[in-house]
Symmetry: C2
Subunit: 180 residues, 2 copies
């Protein structure tokens, strides 16, 4: 299948500006980040760290929300979007023990996760990768791209997300900022 | 991570009684089925076929439904449950393009998928494995175990499931019956 692998080390199109542990253990510093997409990757990679995930169907988004996002969002790779963030998170066991209706209620009705993200479209492009089911150290990797002019707006977005009820279930979060 | 792999070939604890293509392409016949759980499996396996998947959090089940199931269900491996079925299915692109609320409405409010299964607990034990995100030929593998006395009830269960609106989105289904 198609995985996306994020490799931090000496090479890659993105320069790592900062790696910060927000909740729990951080990740080691590195110079560059490479983003690879494909079927499988060699295990000979030694230096630095690597995280992988896959895109999948939406898990909480309603039709109305999906249509709003589709109408507004822009793709990754815009030439002027020279800033990026990679934010791996892991949620705790209490979250994963919740039923679907309970997770949805916390995610949107209480936390407005989707509505918050919608306010920053199309400026902040975003892609979610799942990795919990791969036995990775994180549950999700979210990749954001934006222009230098939208960097301040991005800070507001991440601060808002960290204040919502859903975030009380986050037990590990690392914030990696990049530029190219 | 922990995958479960189903290997059909010459060996394994389960004898394959029948393999039937219900919708779309079937799977090749084989004598025995081995069920392996673990981190990774050798690629030297040659004869027969193999399917793998992982258990995950529930995707549609409400708290009320989850509690009802937990109160009633029994585990796999009951000594007298000497009959089993492995039913791999793949849903079509129209299903996966639906939003979460649309999939839930078809799955339960229109199709009563969970409520149908509840009627057969604890007699028919069941475990769902996900595999779409692994790039496997199916999206889900469901494993059922029951006693010879409950075999007729199991036929009613699968017939009911094949008649619900959700099943109109199934584009491939194979029905594998086993005994030990």
């Amino acid at each position: 299948m198609q995985f996306t692998e994020f490799r931090a080390g000496d090479t890659g199109a993105w320069r790592i500006e900062q790696i910060k542990g927000v909740i729990g253990e951080t990740l080691p510093n590195a110079e560059r980040l490479e983003v690879l997409e494909g079927e499988g990757f060699s295990n000979t990679f030694q230096k630095g760290w690597r995280l992988k995930g896959f895109t999948s169907n939406t898990r909480y988004t309603s039709r109305r929300e999906a249509d709003s996002m589709a109408a507004l969002q822009e793709g990754l790779g815009r030439p002027n979007a020279t800033r990026a963030a990679l934010i791996p998170i892991r949620k705790n066991e209490a979250w994963w023990a919740l039923a679907q209706d309970e997770r949805r209620a916390i995610f949107e009705e209480q936390s407005h996760h989707i509505d918050i993200g919608l306010k920053y479209l199309p400026a902040i492009a975003r892609r979610l990768y799942h990795c919990r089911d791969l036995g990775e150290p994180f549950d999700f990797l979210t990749w954001f791209e934006y222009t230098p002019e939208d960097a301040a707006a991005f800070e507001v977005l991440v601060a808002q997300l960290r204040s919502i009820p859903e975030w009380r279930f986050v037990e590990r979060e690392v914030d990696i900022r990049l530029s190219r």
